[in-house]
Amino acid sequence: MTCCSIAKIVDNEQIRNGCYTMKLEVPSIAGGCTPGQFVLLRGLVAGWPYLRRPFSIYSSDGETKVDIVYKVVGRATSIMSGMDAGEEFDVVGPLGNGFTPDETCTHAVAVAGGIGIPPLAFFCQKYVDLYEHTTLVLGAATREELLVPVGLVVQGVKMATYTEDGSKGCRGTALDGLAGVIGETALEKDAVQVIACGPREMLSEVAHLCRERGVACQVSVEEIMACGIGACLSCAVPASAGGYLHACKDGPVFDSSEIDWERWLET
């Protein structure tokens, strides 16, 4: 159940330049979160901006601890990168709807672009046993930008790495990776479930490809948030049915067909 509590930093470590994993002690959330859900954090330090900031849950020990993975992009994340074990956040969570695993599928393909890895890693960790094959496609521009958090290797999950310059893994994008995997499986489209998280443009391409191939696809999206619970109507995402969905409450995981990608990319 969603609640508002205090999260204490257990560990805050740089994975690579500008990207960190943070372990938080927060039993109220660790106890009952599912992959795709997120938390809203406000650092209890001077200088924090006005609003909380949303972060997907990267993993949870199911009891007291939750991990997130974050990239420094602005004020809040830069403050976070300087925080130490013992420091605290005011936290709200778990929030939103997570991924819905489809047990009728034999194959799960998780496609991560850039900092999109956290919810997908949690998905793989939690649901690997539901599928015969689980593949995690990681894409980035270069080897340096590839994000592979410590402890990411999950038994039974196949990792497929793509870099645009070929400096690590295969040359290409996460989308090429997805196309490869979907093609390679040579299976009934109903047997494959795609889940994805990453930049909006990438998600749109993934959605497009899946629609073309008739493969089901769930995406975890990002939109600027304030309340996180559907009260303020800030986090509007253009809906294919017209009007807007709200990322915090209707999402952040959506069936990719629910979103009007064209309208969203224009904003």
């Binding site: 159940m1 969603t2 609640c3 508002c4 406000r42 901006p49 006005y50 609003l51 909380r52 004020r75 005011d90 709200v92 939109e223 600027i224 948030m225 304030a226 309340c227 619970i229 559907g230 009260a231 303020c232 109507l233 800030s234 986090c235 509007a236 995402v237 253009p238 017209g242 009007g243 807007y244 309208r263 969203w264 224009e266 904003t267």
Partner: protein, 309 residues
């Protein structure tokens, strides 16, 4: 100690009111907020027909506050009446904020909501763009304000609260027009027209281009507006804008506010409502005040030698 406030014939248990647009339609924060600290919650502004609202991004954090450009997204009066309202279950009063594009629309929607049982007061959001006058807010001149409120008054026996926009040259005249038309109380003020520009992309950050600034940044401006308004009308004034602590709330009461709204602060701190009400009690205890009228407007009466420069 008695924290009660009367708005029209409605009695609020405390002077703390949840501001329109931050608390959905009433139920969204169930289990998360201590509703017993609240005298009332104001719903998101409801219009006759549903509105989709503005394209994203709809909110931007400017550090000292936030700018929102939701675009009055709401479910519309029928869904609100048929589905939303019956489900509302909070242990404090419920005020419904109403908006429209013409005085006629305000009138109609006021009629619809009267007699629904669960509604304790109407807050008339006159910051909505007056379509007939090129989109300028109804509340920015006394005549349009009068026209809107007059219509609402005719249709309802519920307390009518008029929420005034802040960028008004003759604030007193607008306030008096609202009162002349029958307002039982005024909320002062709505958000401040503001914007942010993404200098890298050389374009406005918000999908709606401009939006409304709220939060800490606007507190001292709203306080001066409340001071001014409280000095020129006799109905209760509900202060709003940047109230984040008990001390802020006390400043508004000393300036003449009978009650106050909080909005943005709840996005940062869900404990704020209880902290504020507790702080208010502590202050009153310390000063020996038994109820709010004991210090309401107490800072007034000094000569104002001028807001320059």
């Amino acid at each position: 100690m008695n924290l009660e406030v009367k708005i029209g014939e409605t009695v609020l248990a405390t002077p703390l009111v949840g501001a329109s647009g931050l608390f959905g339609y009433g139920n969204e924060y169930e289990g998360l907020l201590d509703f017993t600290s609240f005298g009332a919650i104001v719903t998101k502004t409801v219009t006759l027909k549903p509105r989709q609202g503005n394209p994203p991004p709809r909110i931007v954090d400017v550090g000292v506050g936030i700018i929102n450009s939701i675009g009055l997204e709401n479910v519309g009066s029928s869904v609100f009446l048929g589905e939303v309202l019956p489900a509302v279950d909070i242990p404090c009063k419920l005020f419904v904020s109403i908006g429209g594009e013409t005085p006629e629309e305000y009138r109609k929607i006021a009629g619809l909501f009267t007699g629904s049982g669960r509604v304790d007061a109407l807050e008339v959001n006159v910051s909505c763009p007056n379509v007939a006058r090129g989109g300028i807010a109804f509340g920015s001149d006394p005549e349009s304000t009068y026209r809107v409120v007059e219509g609402v008054r005719v249709e309802t026996a519920l307390p009518v609260i008029v929420k005034i926009p802040p960028l008004v040259a003759g604030l007193e005249e607008v306030c008096r027009a609202a009162c002349d038309a029958g307002a039982d109380a005024l909320t002062i003020a709505n958000t401040y027209p503001a914007m942010a520009i993404d200098i890298d992309r050389a374009r406005p950050v918000l999908g709606g281009v401009t939006g409304g600034l709220s939060g800490k940044a606007v507190k001292s401006i709203s306080l001066a507006l409340v001071w001014k308004a409280a000095g020129s009308v006799s109905v209760p004034v509900i202060g709003a804008g940047g109230i984040e602590t008990a001390d802020d709330a006390i400043e508004f009461i000393l300036a003449g506010a009978s009650a106050f709204q909080i909005g943005s602060v709840v996005l940062r701190d869900m404990g704020a409502p209880s902290t504020i009400v507790e702080g208010l009690r502590t202050y009153m205890q310390g000063k020996g005040y038994g109820n709010l009228p004991d210090f309401k407007g107490k800072a007034a009466g000094e000569e104002d030698t001028g807001g320059e420069e």
